[in-house]
């Protein structure tokens, strides 16, 4: 019995990792799926979300303790920044070789990394958990921190809402149409430019929000942008580039493979994840839920 609850604890640990990654990777996947832009700077937006949330908490703290307001502010600010980046920079790269996009977004990684360092310095920063999400609950003999439960629910909610918008709303139909044939959608009178800006802002919002939401359980340090982008890319690749549900399942698989990999061979904790990615890339180069490139 103890063994079963131990395995369940490990499963919950994997689920936490998975939902964390999904929060970050969902925006990355969204932008690639529709705009075919591999946004390296997504991790930088995530990092900015974390720093801005910390900043907002500092500003607000004499008046009120509101982590949520700070998180919302961070996400919105990053969304606005994303909108500016799309309008002023990325827009000129559409239709050109993907290499140019990569160079541009990579340049943004460097610029934003240095900017964050100039503004917030190199000290590790951290934000306390909001009191309402402090502590832990017990579930079938396993301890689950309330904040982890919150992250799981937030990840699930974003998956469902994202799916509903993409599949059921008229905006979602446009987005899917844009992914298939951008010129045709434009010729039919849709405002593709605004659609793309909106998409990019939504993706940046998700990045900023996930950055803000991790601050209570992670340190905010220079370099957190690059750490996370690699893992987010693994998840997106496993799930299938551009497939929203693929990213969701990719995250779940990544979390469990890592979690049980740690249990079985603690000396090679990361090996299992990279092995999984290699196998999937060999068997299905387009990922679990992706479609072969035409």
């Amino acid at each position: 019995m103890t063994d079963l609850s131990f395995l369940f604890t490990q499963f919950l640990g994997g689920l936490t990792t998975a939902m964390f990654l999904f929060l970050i990777a969902s925006g990355l996947s969204l932008v690639f799926g529709v705009m075919r832009v591999l946004n390296f700077a997504h991790g930088s937006f995530y990092m900015l979300g974390a720093y801005l949330a910390w900043q907002a908490v500092q500003w607000l703290s004499p008046l009120l303790e509101s982590f949520w307001l700070a998180a919302l502010f961070a996400a919105l600010a990053v969304a606005v920044l994303g909108g500016l980046v799309e309008r002023l920079l990325l827009r000129h790269m559409y239709g050109k070789e993907e290499l140019y996009q990569l160079l541009l977004t990579y340049a943004l990684v460097l610029i934003l990394g240095d900017a964050a360092k100039a503004i917030w310095g190199t000290q590790q920063l951290s934000v306390s958990r909001p009191p309402i999400l402090d502590g832990a609950i017990e579930m079938f003999g396993s301890v689950l921190p309330v904040y982890n439960l919150f992250i799981m629910l937030a990840g699930g909610a974003i998956a469902v809402v994202g799916w509903l918008i993409l599949s059921r709303s008229s905006a979602g139909r446009m987005v899917r149409a844009a992914a298939l044939d951008r010129e045709m959608l434009g010729a039919l009178g849709a405002n593709v430019g605004a659609l793309y800006t909106g998409m990019f802002m939504a993706s940046s919002f998700l990045a900023g929000l996930s950055g803000a939401l991790v601050t209570p359980i992670q340190s905010i340090v220079p370099g957190m942008d690059v750490e996370v982008i690699v893992e987010a890319f693994i998840v997106v690749v496993i799930g299938g580039l551009g497939s929203f549900w693929g990213t969701f399942w990719g995250s779940l698989i990544y979390g469990q493979v890592l979690s049980f990999g740690i249990l079985i061979m603690p000396s090679f904790s990361l090996f299992s994840v990279f092995a999984l990615m290699a196998v999937i890339l060999i068997v299905r180069p387009w990922g679990l839920f992706g479609k072969p490139m035409r």
Binding site: F20, Y147, V214, I217, S219, E231, I262, P266, S269
Partner: protein
């Protein structure tokens, strides 16, 4: 060919006056990570070095010559540190090298120091490889502790806890973590044959989510943990482990050899610090009892120099690296690396945290660190070290 030679000669001639003028400052090249995750340590270390240079110059310099610090961003990469070291020697004509943070950079720069016969003082790299008999040469000197000392000292603390039988380890998955844990396991087994190592976790550096590592470790029910997770990673680990009941399970009997006893780590965690754990620091910074007057003066100056409310525990390593070079130059009576390298063998010099001596055989100071339990103190909004005690090597010195 001739034009190339001509060009080379022009450069050589251009360099001569710079080296010939006696009033020129003594140049010290200082590659150090100033961007990326490692800048958390690199920046305060450079601040410490800058402050030492400023103090020395204000007092008239060394042998009447000013010191000049040439700081460069190594990005914590061995390749970049090597490139910078070469550039500092060839282009800037530095007299000495110091700096580098990690155990990747320092051994790499050490080979450049050997090639160019330039004294190199490594302030923080802990790998035993740096001055192992195979890699030792006349120009390399290490200020810091090493992974053997770290692991042994950690083991000497845990060995005293008589009721501890099941010990787990968790450390970052690279040379530093592996070496320190290796030393720990070797010495805890000697000291306490009754102790069993029940679990070993190796999260990578920069892990964002420690949850699965922690839950896996908790499954093995340890009584105590030797940890070498440090810096921002420790902040992350502590915040994620606390609500899982990790520290409660081991009664806070965690010993961390990765300097999470610094004010830097304590400040970042604030009230989320896992009070009661044991850790180390090069400089306790806040020293409630028996603070040496030299340390007090140093911290006061550091606070104004960096305009920070609480000083960093890392600055001391940069500060001491400059003091070491100053003492070496003064003893040698020359800035020639060959003479200074010889003078530094067995050289003792005073620092705000006590006297350090470069062992003539190992080229290390054999520096220990201040260890102690991290406790709550109502005078400070973060954890401080109770009775910082200078420990080196534990009882197992060879």
């Amino acid at each position: 060919m001739t034009s190339q030679r001509l060009l080379a000669m022009t450069f050589a001639v251009a360099l001569i006056p710079a080296a010939a003028v006696a009033e020129d400052p003594i140049k010290i090249g200082y590659p150090m990570p100033l961007s990326g995750p490692a800048s958390v340590y690199g920046v305060p270390i450079v601040k410490g070095a800058e402050m030492a240079v400023q103090e020395i110059n204000a007092a008239g310099g060394v042998k009447g010559r000013k010191l000049e610090l040439l700081t460069r961003d190594s990005k914590a990469s061995a390749d970049e540190a090597v490139r910078l070291a070469r550039e500092l020697i060839i282009k800037n004509g530095v007299d000495f090298l110091s700096g580098t943070l990690t155990s990747a950079e320092a051994p790499a720069v050490s080979t450049i120091a050997k090639e160019n016969k330039i004294v190199f003082v490594a302030p923080t790299s802990k790998t035993i490889q740096l001055v192992s008999p195979k890699n030792l040469h006349p120009y390399i000197f290490r200020l810091a502790s090493n992974t053997d000392i770290d692991g042994r000292t950690g083991a000497s603390i845990i060995a005293k806890w008589k009721d501890v039988k099941r010990v787990a380890t968790i450390a970052p998955d690279y040379a530093y973590g592996r070496d320190a844990v290796g030393a720990f396991v070797e010495f805890i087994k000697k000291a306490r044959p009754d102790i069993e190592i029940v679990d070993q976790q190796w999260p990578k550096l920069g892990t964002a989510d420690f949850t699965p590592f922690i839950t896996a470790q908790m499954g093995k029910k340890p009584d105590a943990v030797f940890c070498d997770v440090f810096g921002g990673d420790f902040v992350t680990l502590a915040k994620q482990a606390a609500p899982l009941g990790y520290f409660k399970m081991i009664n806070n009997r965690l010993v961390d050899g990765g300097e999470v006893g610094t004010t830097d780590a304590a400040l970042a965690l604030g009230k989320d610090y896992p009070y009661g754990i044991w850790s180390d620091t090069y400089d306790p910074v806040i020293w409630p009892e028996n603070e040496p007057p030299a340390h007090k003066a140093y911290i006061e100056h550091l606070k104004t120099f960096t305009k920070q409310e609480y000083a960093s525990g890392w600055a001391i390593m940069g500060y001491a690296s400059i003091l070491a070079l100053k003492a070496g130059i003064e003893k040698a009576g020359s800035t020639k690396s060959e003479a200074v390298a010889k003078a530094m063998l067995g050289l003792s010099f005073d620092t705000p945290i006590g006297k350090l001596t470069f062992d003539a055989k190992t080229h290390e100071t054999g520096m220990g660190e201040f260890w102690g339990q991290m406790v709550k103190d109502d005078r400070y909004p973060f954890a401080i070290m109770k009775n910082p005690t200078y420990l080196s090597q534990g009882p197992y010195t060879q």
